[in-house]
């Protein structure tokens, strides 16, 4: 199918399906508003699966559609343009799925990929721990294989969407004697069991995007390990770049919508007449163009080549840009941005302002991105 024909198909499907009950989901969910319409968004995931819109780039023999990156980008663009809701199944689709495609056994693929593709099985990521944030290799959650089952003990933190997830992919220490990233394994753990406790973390928005997950003799079956025991670090790192892949361009259309809403606010209340605000609005727009151009050049230049530091560069660019947009959003509103509705009900501008403080921390903080660029991109010596 030609790209423009594909675009029309996507657009028609979204228009036809973001109707009825699903019409209420437009603009809902996503970072800063994960608490919104959770049950309805889970139903939307199933609708996406029925429509064949999950796993667009996955190989056909694994149940995907094998579409070229240009059409994957088109899907994300149209998805953002339609204001379709923030995904719940993206962790399975964009992180666990590609990991299984790369490292999983045929049995694991057959067992887990269909649930992701049909939008019926939700995943969360069990990487970070209280004492293993940027230093991920310091993971202390333990897993032991006893009587044909993995037994997990420990604590994960900053686990997005743990409360709706059916499964968690966990980086755990399976060889207590091994140092650092040796001795880690990549395990697939069901969330609905007595040994798993989830506690939401109230964030600075007052809502809960993230959770703590406690494993108290939680179980996973012996076959639920991706790669060999002790190979978990390589498996986890193998798909880390995927997190910042093709979805970048679609994400930027979301940014474009947010920018336009800030611009409309500035025009509406006259703050655009303030030279400082006007300059910041122009800079935000220029920054958006630069990000889009940079992302396009990355996609166009390196189809199928080994990832360099483009993903790290893109993350630094967008995280910092988005955070500045959040600051601009409340500055444009002015004094009334200091007041909330009842029960700490936040406006879009306030929510953007607060939630974007996390952008420069999660998914590899700005400082970690800089370390990677300095070492792998520029070849500077380690400190």
């Amino acid at each position: 199918m030609e790209d423009e024909e594909f675009r029309a198909t996507v657009r028609e499907w979204l228009a036809a399906n973001l109707s009825g009950d699903f019409a209420a989901l437009i603009g809902k969910g996503g970072p800063g508003r994960e608490h919104e319409f959770v049950a309805e968004r889970l139903a939307w995931e199933r609708r996406l699966g029925e429509g064949g819109w999950i796993g667009l780039g996955w190989p056909a023999q694994d149940g995907g559609r094998g579409l070229p990156w240009s059409q994957q980008v088109i899907f994300y663009e149209e998805y953002a343009r339609a204001g379709a809701p923030g995904r719940v199944g993206h962790i399975g689709e964009q992180l666990l799925g590609p990991t299984l495609l790369m490292f999983g056994t045929p049995e694991q693929k057959a067992r887990f990929l269909p649930g992701i593709l049909s939008g019926t099985q939700m995943w969360c990521q069990g990487y970070s721990e209280p004492d293993a944030g940027s230093d991920l290799a310091a993971v202390r959650t333990r897993a032991e294989l006893r009587d044909g089952e993995w037994h997990l003990n420990g604590q994960k933190i900053w686990t997005s969407l743990a409360h709706v997830a059916d499964w968690c992919f966990v980086l755990a220490r399976t060889d207590a004697g091994a140092e650092r990233h040796r001795g880690l394994s990549y395990l697939l753990v069901p969330m609905s069991q007595p040994g798993v406790e989830i506690r939401p973390i109230a964030a600075i928005t007052g809502t809960s995007e993230f959770n703590e997950v406690f494993f108290d003799d939680a179980r996973a079956d012996a076959g639920a390990i991706v790669g060999a025991p002790g190979d978990g670090w390589r498996v986890a790192m193998g798909t880390l770049g995927v997190e910042r892949g093709v979805s970048t361009l679609g994400q930027q259309l979301g940014f474009q919508r947010e920018f336009e809403s800030v611009l409309a606010q500035a025009r509406g209340n006259g703050s655009i007449g303030d030279p400082d605000i006007a300059a910041r609005i122009a800079d935000a727009w220029i920054g958006l163009q630069v990000m889009r151009i940079t992302a396009q050049s990355t996609l166009g230049a390196s189809p199928g080549t080994a990832p360099g530091t483009e993903a790290n560069i893109a993350k630094l660019l967008w995280a910092s840009w988005h955070q500045r947009l959040g600051e601009l959003a409340v500055d444009v509103v002015g004094a009334s941005a200091t007041q909330t509705g009842p029960d700490y009900d936040l406006s879009d501008a306030q929510r953007l302002f607060l939630s974007t403080r996390a952008d420069t921390i999660y998914g590899g903080s700005n400082e970690i991105q800089r370390n990677i660029i300095a070492e792998r991109g520029l070849g500077l010596p380690r400190g």
């Binding site: 122009a282 163009q289 990355t298 660029i373």
Partner: protein, 329 residues
């Protein structure tokens, strides 16, 4: 998409790079034009040119800009490109000279120039490459006029950036040839070329700085191992990488009409030259005392960056221009 060099562009880039390694001095002009034909890249072969286009001019401008070769390439090559888009008869007397490099050009976009009966009067300052220009291409009253330097009073100025001349040019009833070319487009193209050469220069500054940080030892280790410096270099790498993409998008708009040149040209000029300025300033800081010396090359890049930043639209002016053209306000 103009994402990477075509094989021909890559060969051109390598040839210019190779040339710059061997002839990085002012006497390079003759060979650069005669042997390589760089000023004629965007001029038709019937007029003595190479029959390529603006994308190739940008490649040459980048490589000459990377080493700050002190030649009036930018204006002369741009004159060839712009006149080729105008009235062929008017250009016929100029293009062969520009292609051979015997005639050099300077563009006049500012000043209070008036036109009466085909004669130009008025004064313009800060004319880039104006010190040695043989012909001036003057935007005035909606047209682009060619005026021979002999018919004008040219006062070369001392310049902060000693690798690119400037002049104050005064016309007094000077005979001007209507070229039929688009003066406004010429200004945007100059901005695009400044953006492109700035990215190459910024790449050079970053390369040299990173090499220095790997080599220079203090406290018993290479200073590039200190995170305070590594992170600054990483930020520069992010800026240079995004500026590279932005300049290429602007060149694609200039050469192939992809995208809106009216927005992309000032946007790229502002972004890329600001990045160049930042990298050059950091180059001095990260080199320490040696970076402050006349002997080290860093100051020449800093001065080129500041000069490019303040000419053809300051950062503030270009920001407003982009905002207006994008319809923001």
């Amino acid at each position: 998409m103009y994402e990477t060099d075509s094989p021909e562009q890559a060969a051109l880039r390598e040839a210019v790079r190779d040339f710059c390694r061997q002839h990085a001095d002012a006497s390079a002009w003759k060979r650069l034009t005669g042997e390589l034909g760089l000023t004629g890249l965007a001029i038709d072969e019937r007029c003595g040119g190479m029959g390529a286009g603006l994308a190739e001019v940008a490649v040459a401008a980048e490589e000459l800009g990377r080493v700050l070769l002190p030649v009036p390439y930018l204006s002369t090559a741009l004159a060839g490109a712009v006149l080729s888009e105008g009235d062929p008869e008017a250009a016929a007397g100029l293009l062969p000279g520009l292609a051979s490099g015997e005639l050099t050009a300077g563009f006049v976009f500012t000043g209070d120039i008036t036109v009466a009966g085909g004669r130009l009067s008025g004064t313009a300052g800060n004319v880039l490459d104006g010190g040695e220009a043989g012909v001036f291409l003057v935007r005035a009253e909606g047209g682009l006029y060619a005026v021979r330097a002999a018919a004008a009073t040219v006062t070369a100025a001392g310049t902060l950036d000693q690798t690119r001349s400037q002049a104050t040019v005064t016309f007094r009833d000077s005979p001007g040839l209507a070229t039929g070319a688009d003066g406004d487009r010429a200004e945007e193209l100059m901005r695009v070329l400044l953006a492109a050469e700035s990215v190459a220069a910024a790449e050079h500054c970053l390369d040299v700085t990173v090499a220095h940080l790997k080599n220079r030892q203090q406290f018993g280790r290479p200073i590039g191992a200190f995170q305070a410096l590594r992170h600054r270099c990483a930020d520069l790498a992010v800026e240079v990488s995004s500026a590279r993409a932005t300049a290429r998008a602007a060149v694609a708009a200039a050469a192939f009409g992809q995208g809106d040149l009216g927005v992309l040209a000032p946007l790229a000029k502002r972004y890329c030259v600001d990045v160049f300025w930042h990298v050059a300033a950091e180059m001095i800081q990260l080199h320490g005392g040696i970076g402050f010396t006349w002997e080290h090359e860093a100051h020449r890049y800093l001065k080129r960056a500041k000069t490019s930043q303040l000419l053809l639209g300051t950062p503030g002016q270009l920001r407003r221009l982009v905002a207006h053209r994008a319809g923001l306000y």
